[in-house]
Every structure is written in C-alpha cells, then in structure tokens.
C-alpha cells in the first residue's frame, strides 16, 4: 500500500479535485447509463405487455371478427 493516511489519499498531492472530479463523473455516468437502459427496458416491456393483452382481449371474444384497417 502506497498511502500513509486516508486524507492523503483524498488530497492526491494537490490534485485531489481533478482526480476525483474525473473519477466521480466517470463513475456517475457509468452507473447512470445502465440504470437508464434498465428503466427504459422496464417501461418498454410494460407497454408491450399492455398492448398484447389489449390485442388478445380484442381478438378472443369473437375470433372471426378480427379485422384490419
């Protein structure tokens, strides 16, 4: 281990803000991106399920009546 104390580690010599600025933004974006994708995917699946269910409900009572515009 190279560091003497935790505050040394945070200070990074005099370059703390720069190092942690880049590290923070990188970590943030790398967490944000998959989170956004997962959220979008959940919404998409819910929407598609709703749509499929609606179509099935429309089709089932009278299968032959199904028509297309």
């Amino acid at each position: 281990m190279y560091w003497n104390s935790f505050s040394d580690f945070i200070a990074m010599g005099t370059h703390g803000p720069y190092v942690w600025g880049s590290f923070g933004v990188m970590a943030l974006l790398m967490i944000l991106e998959p989170w956004l994708i997962a959220r979008g995917r959940k919404g998409l699946i819910a929407r598609l399920k709703r749509q499929f269910r609606a179509e099935r409900a429309e089709r089932n009572p009278m299968d032959s009546r199904r028509s297309r515009n």
Partner: protein, 253 residues
C-alpha cells in the same frame, strides 16, 4: 466449416441472440467489476507517485482506457454497420445502434478526464492540438450518427443511412491514432511517461490494462443490454416477442 456458418447465422437472428445475450450479460458485468476493482486498486492504492506529474497522473487509469474504447467502439460499430449494408442482416443494425451511445459516452469521458488532467499538467483545460481536436470530432461523429438515426423513423432506413455515415467516418480513426506522430503536439505520444521511470512501469502498465479490460467488459455489457431493448422494440410484431411477453394460457414461458 459449413457447421460453423450455420451456427453463426443462427445467432445472427434476433430470436436466438436475445436469450443468449440475456445469459451473457451478468458474466460481463461480473468481469467488469472484477477487472475494475483490481485495476483501480493497483492504480490508486498500489502504484507510487509519478516523479514528474505528481498524483494527478492517476487520471491515466481512467483516461487511457476511455480513449481507447472510444476509438475501438467506433470501429466495431462501423464493422456491424458495413455487415448490415452488405448482407442485410437484421441484427447488425441493432448492434450498431446499441453501440453508438456507449461510444459517445466513452468519447465524452475521454475528453472530460483529459481536460481535468490538462489543467494541472498544462495549466489549461483545453488546447487545440491535433489529438484533442480529433477526439472531439469523434464525439461529433457519434452524435451525428445518433442524431441521424433518431431523425429517420423507419428503422430499416435509419440503419442503412447510419451505416453509410459510419463507414464514411471511419477515416477519422487513424487520424486520431496517428495524430501524435504526424503533428508535433502537446499531447504526449505513446509510452513517454512509461519509459521515464521503468521501475514503476510494471505496476502502472498492469493497472492500466486492467482498467482497460474493465471498460471493455462494461461496454459489452451495456451494449448488449441496449441491444436487447432495441430488439424487443423493433421485433414487437413477431411471434417470438409475443410468446416471450404474452405467453398463451395453454403454453409455457
């Protein structure tokens, strides 16, 4: 050989790629975490101070991997795009579309970490040197690709138009990579800081490689996640999506 071809085409269909990707994603996440933690451990806790650049040099463990990835992802994206244009496979367009935002993110991070490094090293956030500028252009190319695809609503048309743009933009990659050689610039060329202090080079190199691997795994995982969503969206009228999301009462999952 024909066997391998058949396999290849089998996984080139969204229907079989979708579950495969689903199974692979957790593995890539795990690898990304392992490599990332190891790389950061070495980079931030083990590696000693750089004599010339002070502690600030630790940004290298973030900057170099993102820079590499930003270029590499573009190449992969262009490869998929070209494949789609040539063979008209459905999967390739989706992969290209899934990769673009991650590539843009990497390009942005490369710029961001580079800027934060430049302030203590060069005394300025930004200089207009060839490498920095061409990296900026790369970000623009990504954004242009994304904007073009977003502006065309028919996905098949969007894929083809995007593919042409991606292929035309490939010429930028060698420019970025060799810019340091071709023009005499402020940005350091490969391996400058590595040869200065050979004793330290080993740990630094390892840290950097591990971080790069982590970025790589991360990119694959994220791209696969996005590709799965795109597949569902685009193939929502096919039977397999319907069977997946709306299993008939009689059948099973």
């Amino acid at each position: 050989m024909s066997n391998r071809l058949i396999n290849w085409f089998k996984y080139a269909s969204p229907q079989s790629f979708y579950p495969l990707a689903g199974k692979l994603i957790p593995w890539f996440w795990a690898l990304a975490a392992v490599f990332g933690i190891a790389g950061l451990y070495i980079g931030f806790l083990v590696a000693p101070i750089d004599a010339q650049q002070g502690e600030g040099y630790r940004i290298i463990f973030l900057h170099v991997p993102t820079s590499w990835m930003s270029m590499f992802i573009y190449l992969v994206m262009a490869f998929w795009a070209g494949l789609g244009l040539a063979f008209n496979t459905r999967l390739s367009g989706m992969m290209a579309q899934a990769l673009a935002p991650t590539g843009a993110l990497m390009a942005f991070l490369s710029l961001w970490t580079g800027a934060l490094w430049g302030k203590p090293m060069w005394g300025t956030w930004w200089v207009w040197d060839a490498r920095l500028t061409s990296e900026l252009i790369l970000l623009f190319l990504y954004i242009g690709f994304i904007a073009l695809q977003a502006a065309i609503d028919d996905p098949r048309r969007a894929d083809k138009a995007g593919a042409i743009l991606a292929l035309v933009g490939v010429v930028n990659i060698p420019i970025i990579y060799f810019s340091v050689k071709w023009w005499n610039t402020l940005h350091q060329g490969a391996s400058v800081s590595l040869t200065k202090a050979p004793s330290m080079a080993q740990t630094m190199l390892w840290g950097m490689l591990l971080c790069a691997l982590a970025c790589w795994m991360y990119s694959i995982a994220v791209a696969l996640m996005r590709a799965r969503s795109i597949m569902l969206e685009r193939e929502r009228h096919t039977e397999w999506v319907r069977a997946l999301l709306d299993p008939q009462p009689a059948g099973k999952e």
